[in-house]
Every structure is written in structure tokens, then in C-alpha cells.
Symmetry: C3
Subunit: 99 residues, 3 copies
């Protein structure tokens, strides 16, 4: 509609809160220009580790908008967290007002 | 970019908090592997029932990633909630790291 | 899959909480049928103004589903906020259950 919009990949990560500092560090290392964190709760593979007794867990949703290359790299880097923690992540192409 | 990503439908439901238990039960019945719940507030058709006096309501945003078939079924099942409660829902195809 | 779903543009705005009242007024002026607000925190261009000393800021995520025309107008109107406040916004085409 208008050509003045930026294009980027919105990456959404939903994971255990304990991963927050490591994620922020990872995003910084990758050169992400910013991120947003929202507290969440969840169950199942979105938020509960196998063997976790409580039905609910304290989770966070982390969002960042990055380049296609950074999105691919971020997804790769996140895989290592999945072996030890509850984490899902997905990315979507978006356009709008952002750097 | 890489072929190791899962594909699925992200369903987002925004509704009155009072529906939480019923939604969780519905997701479980449909076989969703997990879900995330975030507290929210809203107004208009996103969160206020006709006749509701307060401008704000206590809402939740529920997200789940499911198969295309489950997404279609979930949307159908959600319609019955709309006759009695404020609820909107939308789905988007996403790819990433999830079951 | 089914033809009974509505189509619209989901606009997500992440900005400083101080903008909340002005955004709600803007959405109302544009004729948005509703909106959802979720408290968030952020850093970088997603939530920190240049010169802001704290690493974290109090932000909100505002979501609304509107027509393509309203989405374009909303994006234009949001640009003026960016000169003085931390704000990002993006829109995505979605389908589902909403007015």
C-alpha cells in the first residue's frame, strides 16, 4: 500500500523464565536492535518440562524483529536450549514501522 | 532457508478470563500439545460484552500451535463461545521450533 | 478451509506506556472495533528511548484487527509518535473469528 514500511522477521520465543538472561545475551550477540518481553504461563510443550510436577510454569514470551539472516541464525542457536528447557519459537515475515 | 523447521498454525484467542478453564479443556480434547496464556485488558469487541458497564475487562490471550486440521476444528468450536462471551480468534501459518 | 472466517489486518504496536491514552483515542477515531493491551518490558528500539538511562522501560503491546485501509492509515498516524517516543508497529493479514 505504501513503500515506506520496513520489512523484517518477527521472531517469537516462548520459554521458561530462567532462560531470560541467556536469551537477552544471545539477541545482543546477534545484533538485534531490540526486544520485548511479556510474562506468560503455559502448559505442555509450550511451557512444561517433562517431569515438571506443576501443571503451570512461569514463562516469558520474547519478541524481536530481525533480518532474515539473523532470524535463521537465532533459530539455530535456540535449538541448544530445547534439549534442557521448555522452549518453542517461530518466525513470521512482517512489515511496519521499525528499524 | 533451512528444512529443519516445523510448520503449524498459530491460533491466538483473546477472550474473557472466565473462559480460561473451558478453553484449556477444549485444547486438551483437541489434542493440542501445549498452550500459552497471557493476561490482557481490552475494550470493544476484543474484550467487552455488550452491556458491560466497565470500559475495561479482564481478558486473556491464549496461544497454541496446532495442525491445520486442529486449527479449523478449534475455530469451529470457538464459535459457540462467541454467542455468550467476548471472544476473537485468528490463525496464522508459522514455522519454527515446536512439536 | 472454511469460507466463514473474517479477514483483516492485525496491527501490533509496542511502545512506551505513556502513549496508551493517545493510542486508544487514535484507534477510536479511526473506528477500530476493539483493541487489546498487554503490559511488556523491552530494550533497544522496541522500548528504550535514546538517552534513556534504565536498560528496561515500561511498555505496552497494543493489538487491534482492522481493515486494510485502517491499517495503512494507522501506520501513517503512528509515525508522528516515533519522533518523540519509542514505538514499533507491524501489521499482518489474518483470518479468523472477529468483526
Amino acid at each position: 500500500m505504501t513503500t515506506s514500511h520496513s520489512q523484517g522477521y518477527l521472531v517469537t520465543i516462548i520459554c521458561e523464565t530462567v532462560l531470560q538472561d541467556r536469551l537477552v545475551k544471545l539477541l545482543s550477540t546477534l545484533g538485534a536492535s531490540g526486544y520485548t518481553i511479556i510474562p506468560a504461563k503455559g502448559a505442555g510443550s509450550h511451557g512444561k518440562r517433562m517431569g515438571d510436577i506443576a501443571g503451570y510454569n512461569t514463562n516469558i514470551e520474547v519478541k524481536t524483529i530481525v533480518t532474515p539472516e539473523m532470524s535463521t541464525q537465532l533459530m539455530e542457536d535456540l535449538k541448544e536450549f530445547q534439549s534442557t528447557h521448555a522452549l518453542i519459537a517461530y518466525h513470521q515475515k512482517v512489515e511496519g514501522l521499525f528499524d
